[in-house]
Symmetry: C2
């Protein structure tokens, strides 16, 4: 996964644990894609100050994921639900062996339940 997407995902999961000020600044970086200079100007702090704040936010969000692994758990579930979608696509194309299709979906849905 690319770094920006990963950071946006971490922010989606754990962003509410940042302070209001951190969120305001970090969102301009991660969601609005502004440059450090642009954020510095709008937030009324130095470019270095923005840089440090963003690094602190990233480390905090990564720290939450290192402890909780919830993004990892969600991505695993998402991947498995995607596999169910692919099996359904296969059925739509071939319309063969519904029993086998059902068995494969059952195995995947069972592993999802075990993980949750």
């Amino acid at each position: 996964m690319n770094k920006i997407l990963e950071q946006a995902l971490l922010y989606d999961f754990y962003g509410e644990l940042l302070t209001t000020h951190q969120k305001e600044v970090y969102e301009q970086f991660i969601l609005d894609d502004l440059s450090l200079s642009e954020i510095a100007e709008s937030a009324g702090i130095s470019r270095q100050g923005v840089h440090d704040l963003i690094r602190r936010c990233q480390r905090a969000l990564e720290g939450y994921e290192n402890k909780l692994h919830l993004v990892e758990r969600f991505l695993s579930v998402k991947e498995k639900v995607g596999e169910i979608g692919e099996i359904l696509d296969e059925w739509e194309r071939e319309k063969k062996n519904p029993e086998e299709i059902v068995g494969r979906i059952r195995r995947i849905s069972d592993t999802i339940i075990e993980e949750l």
Copy 2:
């Protein structure tokens, strides 16, 4: 959901954000089902101290859920995967209308992906 199960689920999701000492004491309460007096004795603190620590842990865990709603998101996904299981059960019993079965599973898996 009963209160004990809810608290165990919150602990499963956010417990790693508690301190080591909080985790040691809180696990005796929530996972080992010990009484306040038993925990007080083993931890070498007063019964009131155990009571206060447990309340602080509960409030912290509830605070994380109020901000992040990740238990809520997980339970919603789990419920939907359960619905897929029921549709598969129906197929196993009746072996009718595989196309309709596939369509219903597709709709549920699409809503899961949207939520994740």
